[in-house]
Symmetry: C2
Subunit: 200 residues, 2 copies
């Protein structure tokens, strides 16, 4: 049974979750599929092309919120769903960052969010700036979140002592990631409205 783009992507995601992006070598993917690394180049032009396919697959699981509700809630729900996808697969952030969002599902997400941003009242000329700001927020938040979750407790306490010689404020602050993520979103939306590139 011949492999396909789909089975290669599937195997890649399996390896990502097991070994992280460090372990995602062409040879490792090939081994997972019982073929040789060179064969992968018949399906993909190179590693970045494969990253693009992985990212596209991840984004295909994106659950579009209901159109009906008000556009601001829609945006918050969109970004929550975006984060959920990023959290579902280990090291998804560098995969997304190193691939161009020119595939159907990724463009669909971008378009849906762009439309909602315009509905909320952001000026069209600021659309790219605003969506970049929000996109970077989500990506860097999740990257930090994963780094934190993959750091052993003693290392964290070591770092804590450096930044805050008193006591462990850091841990208390960073424990609830859902709440922290929502907090950041509130900050960004409030800020964007206040700086009145918003029409209303």
């Amino acid at each position: 049974m011949a492999v396909s783009k789909e089975t290669i992507v599937e195997a890649s995601i399996k390896i990502l979750n097991r070994d992280g992006i460090e372990g995602l070598s062409m040879r490792a993917i090939a081994k997972e599929l019982n073929i040789k690394a060179a064969s992968l180049y018949w399906h993909f032009s190179g590693k970045l092309d494969l990253y693009g396919a992985i990212a596209e697959c991840l984004c295909s699981y994106y659950e579009m919120p209901e159109e009906s509700c008000n556009p601001k809630d829609y945006l918050v729900l969109s970004y929550r769903a975006y984060r959920a996808i990023l959290l579902s697969t280990r090291d998804s952030v560098p995969v997304l960052e190193n691939s161009i969002p020119n595939t159907p599902h990724r463009l669909e997400i971008i378009n849906a969010i762009s439309k909602a941003l315009l509905k909320v009242g952001f000026k069209e000329e600021n659309l790219m700036t605003v969506s970049n700001l929000l996109n970077n927020y989500v990506l860097s938040f999740v990257a930090d979140e994963c780094r934190f979750k993959n750091t052993p407790l003693d290392k964290i306490q070591e770092l804590e002592k450096m930044f805050n010689p008193q006591d462990s404020l850091l841990l208390r602050a960073t424990n609830d990631f859902d709440e922290q993520f929502s907090f950041g979103l509130r900050v960004l939306f409030a800020g964007l409205e206040a700086v009145d590139i918003c029409a209303r």
Copy 2:
């Protein structure tokens, strides 16, 4: 004449500016200094240790703004200076991201900014959250800025057409990076105040 940690870092920065982080291999650094790659391991425990030293060196050029002016201006000037350092050396962002900020100059910057954030009125329990938000903003902004500047014009126009079938709004929006950077900072500060984790 034997090399030292300093000359190794110097050579590394030279290579970064010339070839980017892809070109910064242990062998390339050694060649630049007319030694062999294995020798570097007498000075540094590994590549991440070297990244830490490069980051520390870059941060030593940080120009602390005057203490006297009001704390909010101080913060804006701090983040501008931070961005200036990141822009001064190619691919500095991944170097910073992959090293632990436990060296003197980096801690100095973190402490100075923390103090200013508290002065502005942010609650101590939110200090880490707020400074992470701002730090991530600067890093991801500069990463995008560099990506944009290193992308040939025809590639950019190709992408533009994908996101905005009408015309080239993107280019107009992203031309002035200084202004864009300040815009993002204004958004974040306005948002942080509005979400009233700010005491005043």
